[in-house]
Symmetry: C2
């Protein structure tokens, strides 16, 4: 009997999202049309349209997969043994454009920010991801307080949005070449040091 051809639709959708990332990182989302995405992915425009009803749906999908990729990057670079503070630092550092993949992610994030102003569904997606991120950071801060790494008098609900805002700003400055990776990581480490139980010398 002939073996039916198994089509991995998720893999095909992902390959199209990767083409969006490459195009968007090169020249922003202004350049991304369905035809260009198809050419970049080496497939027909009809193939892209089979998987995505329109450009907005494609861009939202590409945004979601970029977030998952960042998450995988954090989990792939963890020190061992692992403390809550290590994980907190890794989660924040993953937002910084320090190599090709994370640079693409940061560019995508800025491109999506502008679209979110006029695309309510994308805005809702981004808000949901933001809340998940804040929740994860708050849990890590609380864990690090329990293990005694971070000061007990800190309020994770105050520190989490502050650390995330600092990291978002550092990512923007790195993207624009206004700061280098070493300086950005030093700024992040300094912010974390100030939350530690034992205050270290200012850097």
């Amino acid at each position: 009997l002939p073996v039916p051809k198994v089509v991995d639709h998720e893999q095909r959708r992902h390959a199209i999202a990767e083409a969006v990332w490459r195009l968007a990182a090169g020249s922003g989302l202004e350049a991304v049309s369905l035809a260009e995405v198809a050419a970049e992915a080496g497939v027909s425009k009809g193939h892209v349209q089979h998987y995505f009803a329109n450009r907005d749906e494609l861009l939202r999908y590409a945004a979601g997969r970029a977030g998952e990729r960042r998450c995988a990057r954090v989990l792939g670079h963890l020190p061992d043994p692992l403390t809550p503070l290590d994980l907190l630092r890794a989660a924040l550092a993953a937002f910084l454009p320090t190599d090709a993949d994370s640079r693409t992610d940061a560019l995508l994030e800025n491109a999506f920010l502008i679209r979110a102003v006029t695309d309510e569904r994308l805005a809702a997606d981004l808000l949901s991801v933001h809340r998940q991120t804040l929740g994860a950071l708050q849990r890590l801060l609380a864990d690090a307080q329990e293990t005694g790494q971070l000061r007990a008098d800190l309020d994770p609900a105050v520190e989490a949005p502050r650390l995330l805002a600092l990291t978002t700003g550092l990512a923007t400055h790195l993207l624009l070449g206004h700061q280098d990776t070493g300086a950005a990581l030093a700024t992040l480490d300094r912010a974390l040091d100030q939350l530690r139980t034992t205050t270290e010398a200012p850097r």
Copy 2:
């Protein structure tokens, strides 16, 4: 004798830049073509082309004028009497999208960020503005140390980029509706409080 018609070219260029701001704030720079800018400004496309050689030149001009507008906003809302710390706070708060004008500026900034990745001249313009901003913040930090408002052991060269990164990130989160104005200003004030000579109770 007939009075010669005096044409204020800078005023006309500025009116065109204002049209760019309105369009970009509505739907990002993707939507901004010379024809659309002309329609929004209520002039002909030829009029726009008389003042700007191409779209890139127009967008760079609009970016520059937006920076000047922010500066004017800071100077227009200063407390009296004025301390260096007041001025530092006002300069940072001016980056936050808290009303229609500052929201437009923040949207423009993100739109230009993406363009800067592929437009070296725009990138150089933005880097120059960034350095001026950092220099001004460093001077204000040093002034506030001299008046005894801020701790003498702080390094303005370290604190200025950190405060600016925090503010840039807060601006992004405000723009996306991930945070409200009150929370963002409280985060900024908390960061400044930690630099003060007399440490206040954590908020």
